[in-house]
C-alpha cells in the first residue's frame, strides 16, 4: 500500500511541474504583462518599466522560473499584486469554507444518490426507476447557479426556511477558531451553552450543498443503478442466494460491496466537478471560500493569485483522487494484494 502511494505521488510530480510551467508562461504572456495588469491599461511606459524592474521581470525567463519553483517549494505562493496579502495566509482563511461546502455536497450526493440508485435498480424499468431517471437527468442538466438561485428563491426568499448568504450569520459573533463554520459554530455552542451557532452553521450549508451536489448526485445515482443491476446478475450473487442467505444480506454484503467499486471511481471523477462547481456556488451564495476568491482575483487581474490558486486546485484534485484510489484499493482485494 505504501508503495502504491509513493508511486502515485512520484507520478504526480511531472504533471505538477508541467502545469507550473504553463501557468508561469500564462502570467508572462498576459497582454501587456503583469505590470500593466497591475497598473491598468493607461500606465506610462516608465511606470511599467519600474514595476517590471521591481518585480524582477527583466531577468532571463528561466532564472525567474527557477526562482518561482524555489519559492513554491518553500511554501511561498507569492503575494497579491492588488493588496499585497500573502496567498498562503488568505488561502488558510478561506479554504475551510470550501472544504465544508464540498463535503456537504458530497454527503448530499452520496447519501441520497446511493439509496436512489438502489431503489431504481430494484424496480428497474418500473415507475420508480423512471422517476429516478428523470431526477438524475435534471441533476446533470441544471447549472449550479440556476439551481442555487431557484433554491434561494423558494427556501430563502419565499419560505424563509434557510439562509442564503454565506456560511454563518456574522451577527452571532462566533469567534473564528478553526475557520470551519460548522466546527466554530459547534465550539461556540459548547461554550455558550446554546445550540444557536451550531444550528445556524448547519442551516447555512444546506442550500449551497444541494446546489453544488446536484450533478454528483445525478452521476452517483446513475452509476449506482447501473452497478447494482450489473452485479445482481453475477454468478456469485446466485451463489449467495443458493446458500440460503437472506435477501438483505445478499443486497448489503454481496451486491453493494461490489457495486461500491464503480461508485468509488465515479466519486473520484466528480471531485473535479465539485471543486470547479465551488467557484460558481460560492458566487451564488456569497461564500468567502477559495472559489469566489478565484473569480475575484480574475476580475481584479490579480494573476499571481490566479496562478497559485490553479496550482493549488490541481494539487487538491490530485490528493482527492489519491484518497479515492486508496479507498478503491481498500475495497478491491485484487488491487490491495498485488
Amino acid at each position: 500500500m505504501a508503495r502504491f502511494i509513493v508511486r502515485r505521488v512520484i507520478a504526480a510530480v511531472p504533471v505538477l511541474l508541467g502545469l507550473s510551467v504553463l501557468l508561469f508562461i500564462f502570467v508572462r504572456l498576459l497582454p501587456g504583462g503583469p505590470a500593466s495588469a497591475i497598473l491598468g491599461q493607461h500606465a506610462t511606459p516608465q511606470r511599467i518599466a519600474d514595476v517590471n524592474e521591481a518585480l524582477g521581470l527583466t531577468r532571463p525567463l528561466y532564472v525567474q522560473y527557477f526562482e518561482y519553483i524555489g519559492r513554491l517549494l518553500h511554501g511561498d505562493f507569492g503575494s497579491s499584486y492588488v493588496d499585497g496579502t500573502k496567498v498562503v495566509d488568505v488561502f488558510l482563511l478561506r479554504f475551510p469554507s470550501t472544504i465544508e461546502l464540498t463535503m456537504g455536497a458530497l454527503f448530499f450526493a452520496i447519501g441520497l444518490g446511493i439509496p436512489l440508485g438502489r431503489i431504481a435498480a430494484r424496480h428497474s424499468n418500473g415507475l420508480i426507476d423512471g422517476i429516478v431517471t428523470v431526477i438524475s437527468l435534471f441533476g446533470i442538466s441544471i447549472p449550479v447557479f440556476v439551481l442555487g438561485y431557484t433554491l434561494a428563491f423558494f427556501f430563502g426568499v419565499q419560505l424563509h426556511w434557510l439562509p442564503t448568504f454565506g456560511l454563518a450569520d456574522p451577527t452571532l459573533g462566533v469567534p473564528a477558531v478553526t475557520n470551519f463554520p460548522i466546527i466554530d459554530g459547534a465550539l461556540a455552542s459548547l461554550q455558550g451553552g446554546t445550540t444557536a451557532p451550531f444550528v445556524d452553521a448547519i442551516a447555512h450549508v444546506i442550500l449551497p450543498s444541494i446546489a453544488l451536489g446536484s450533478i454528483p448526485l445525478a452521476v452517483v445515482t446513475r452509476i449506482t443503478r447501473a452497478a447494482v443491476i450489473e452485479v445482481s446478475n453475477e454468478d456469485y450473487v446466485r451463489t449467495a442466494r443458493a446458500k440460503g442467505l437472506t435477501e438483505k444480506r445478499v443486497d448489503n454484503r454481496h451486491i453493494m460491496r461490489n457495486a461500491w467499486l464503480p461508485v468509488t471511481t465515479v466519486i473520484g471523477l466528480e471531485a473535479g466537478a465539485l471543486l470547479a462547481g465551488a467557484v460558481l456556488t460560492e458566487t451564488v451564495f456569497n461564500i468567502n471560500g477559495v472559489g469566489s476568491w478565484v473569480v475575484d482575483s480574475i476580475r481584479n487581474h490579480d494573476y499571481v493569485v490566479v496562478q497559485s490558486l490553479v496550482l493549488i486546485f490541481a494539487v487538491i484534485f490530485m490528493v482527492v483522487n489519491l484518497i479515492v484510489d486508496i479507498g478503491y484499493a481498500f475495497l478491491n482485494p485484487r488491487i490491495r494484494y498485488s
Binding site: L22, F26, P143, L275, V279, L280, V294, I298, F317
Partner: protein, 295 residues
Amino acid sequence: MTATAATLAATPRTSRGLWGDALRRLMRNGPALVGLFFIAVFVMGAILAPILSPYDPTVGKLADGYQSPSLAHLMGTDQQGRDEFTRVLYGARISLSVGVVAVLFGLIGGTIVGSIAGGAGGKLDGLLMRFVDVMLAVPGLLLAIVLVSWLGHGELQIMLAVGISYSPMFARLLRGSLLALRESDYVIAARSMGASPVRILVRHMMPNALTPLIVQATLFAATAIIDVAGLGFLGLGPGDPRIAEWGEMLTDASSYLQNYPYLIFFPGAAIVISAIGFNLLGDGLREALDPRLKR
C-alpha cells in the same frame, strides 16, 4: 486463412449497415426523440428570433421595466425594459452556437492529439499523454475560466477556452479506443495482409473509434451550454452589451431575485431544457450505437 482475414478486415467497412441500424434504433428511442425535439425548438427559436418577436433584444425603454409576464411580453421585461422572451430567443443563438462550436473545437483538437498518440504510440504517445494529464489536472470549468481570463472577452475566445478545456478528454477517449482496436482481430488481420499503418488507422480504426467520440460530443454539448452560461454568469461572457447571453442575463437578474424571480426563471429554464435535450440525445445515441447497452 486469407479468405477469413479478408472478410474480417472488411467487416468494419460495411458500416453503412451499422449506421443505418443505429439511425433506426435512434428513431425508435422515445427519450432521444424528445431530446431532438427540444434541440429543434431552440434552433428554430434562435433562427426565427427576428420573426417571432417584434422587440429589440438589447434596447428597451426604462419605463417598460419590470413588467410581469403578459400577452405583450410573454416572459415579462427586465430592469432596462427589454423583452425577456426576445432576449431568451437571441440568447439561444449565442448559447447553441458557442456551445456547439466549442465542442467542435474540442473534438478537433482532441482527435488530432488522440489519433497521433493512439496511432503512433511510443515516445510521442507518452509525451502527448503527459500533456493531456497536465490539462486534466485543472478541474473542469476552472481551466476554461483561466483560459478566458487569458484570451480575453468575446465569443470566439469562449469557444476556444471551452473547446480547449474539453479536448484532453476527447484525446484520452480516442486514444483509449485506438489502443484497444490496435489489438483487435480485424486490425491484426489487416496488418498481416500488408495494409499500410496510415491506411489501417484511417480506414479501419478511426470509423470504429469515432462512435464513442460522437456520443461524448453530444453529451458535451449539454455541458458546454451550461459552461458557457457559467462563464457569462461569472462575468467572463462575451462582454458585449449588444448581445443577450443566458448566463449574463442570470447575473443581471440575480440582484432582483426577491421581487422579479421570473427574470431568473426563464433564462434558467432555457439552459436546463436545452441541456436536457442534448443529454437525452446523447444517451439515445449511445444506446443506438451500442445495442448491448439497451436495458
